[in-house]
Amino acid sequence: MLIVGEIINTSRRRIAEAVEKQDAAFIGQVAKDQADAGAHFIDVNAGTFVDRETEYLCWLVKTVQDAVDLPLCLDSPSPKALSEAIKYHRGEPMINSISLEKERFDEMLPIVTAQPCRVVALCMTETAMPVTIEDRVQAGAELINRLTAEGVALENIFIDPLVQPVSVDTRMGNAVLGAIKTIMNDFPGVNTICGLSNISFGLPARRLINSTFLSLCILQGLSAAILDPTNKRLMANLLSTRMILGKDEYCGDFIDAYQNGIINKE
């Protein structure tokens, strides 16, 4: 299970403040904390700074990679911000994201094919957010076909089924779970990825909901998640779910995490 640490996002107040103050020590520490907690990629998102997004995203790339030796998930809907930020990135980044919306696809394609990288592809249709399982599977299949035709390796594609709140429509949980299952089944080797927190928008006890949802996603075959790895209960849930589903040989990751203090005794 590939983990993308989600904390460095300027929609979080403390991150936004640190970015504005160019507080490299603070950002570096947040990156280290996530790396220590088991993140494989560190997400960087400066999307709330509309006019200065590119500048801040570039700064985040440098600052985070000065602090940790991990690849980053460059997170922006803006092709301009991404194409600049990628110049500062060492190693193979994950680019988040491309979708079938015509303009976005056309502008992002040269960026994701210019160098080896992983790419997050959103199951948006060209004109609307997906509602059903079929909407998602159709968009996912088209993304996979078009990206692989352009030379992107299947295993570098991370399909995001787009999680939407169950508070607004109680069918939204099953829509994502069903889509993960079908896509993983129809395209062996491809990855699926999602953020968790949208599922619980508008509801209380969001951490509980997010954590339960993660387990169900893993059951359907989700292979990557964007989450807060410093949330110990969430990580404990992730590790125990994988183990129970036979994805953790000799229960090694689970036991390691316990012995390293990531999982506490009850």
Binding site: S11, G47, T48, F49, V50, E53, S76, P77, S78, E101, E103, M124, T127, A128, M129, Q164, P165, S167, V168, F201, G202, L203, P204
Partner: protein, 211 residues
């Protein structure tokens, strides 16, 4: 006549009881407009307050809004010749290039519950479409939503388009969406920023001097 049972039913989202109470009030000779104002809209004000305070959650708000809609359907035949008064006409939409609709839909529902007429233009709405529809509807307020940093500038473009077409002085502008901030609203010359559906109602009322 007291509308307490109706109020309670709408607040709870009890569609069956609410419809029965609406019919009862009609049969008792109450004016449809009074039932709407003192029963349904009043109940939705409470729901909006509770939501803004964090006392209730999105599904409960939706259930109340659905209950109100069903009651309005019951009332409709009892209004004389479209005599239903509106608190104001509000055009809403998600801006060009942006397909997110969940927040915008919640806002529309709560504004409707508060007694406004809503013209929902959907998603990916270009500035010129906003302008045309605002003109056509003679709208009092326009509400714009954006969920992407890349589409937020379209809010600013729409405000410019309103100015260019001479509508800026006649229509108030409210904006919102996850990456949108109060500061951004000020920067682009919007009249108000709304952080959620409840505050969108409050801001709309404030802008139109409705108590």
């Amino acid at each position: 006549m007291s509308y307490q049972t109706l109020l309670d039913a709408v607040i709870k989202g009890d569609i069956k009881t609410a419809k029965e109470e609406t019919l009862k009030a009609v049969d008792a000779g109450q004016k449809a407009q009074d039932i709407l104002d003192q029963g349904l809209i009043e109940a939705m004000n409470v729901v909006g307050d509770n939501f803004s305070k964090g006392a209730i959650f999105v599904p409960q708000m939706l259930r109340s809004a659905k209950t109100m809609q069903e009651c309005v359907e019951v009332l409709k035949p009892h209004f004389k010749e479209n005599a239903m008064t509106t608190k104001g006409k509000i055009v809403i939409g998600t801006v060009k290039g942006d397909l997110h609709d969940i927040g915008k839909n919640l806002v529309g529902m709560m504004l409707e519950g508060a007694g406004f007429s809503i013209i929902d233009l959907g998603v990916d709405v270009a500035p010129e479409v906003f302008v045309d529809k605002i003109k056509e509807a003679d709208a009092d307020v326009v509400g714009m939503s954006a969920l992407l940093s890349t589409t937020m500038p379209s809010m600013s473009l729409t405000i410019k388009a309103l100015a260019d077409s001479g509508l800026r002085d006649t229509v108030k502008v409210i904006i919102g969406g996850a990456p949108v901030t109060r500061k951004y609203a000020e920067d682009i010359g919007a009249d108000a920023y709304a952080s959620d559906a409840g505050s969108a109602v409050l801001e709309a009322k404030k802008l139109l001097n409705i108590t």
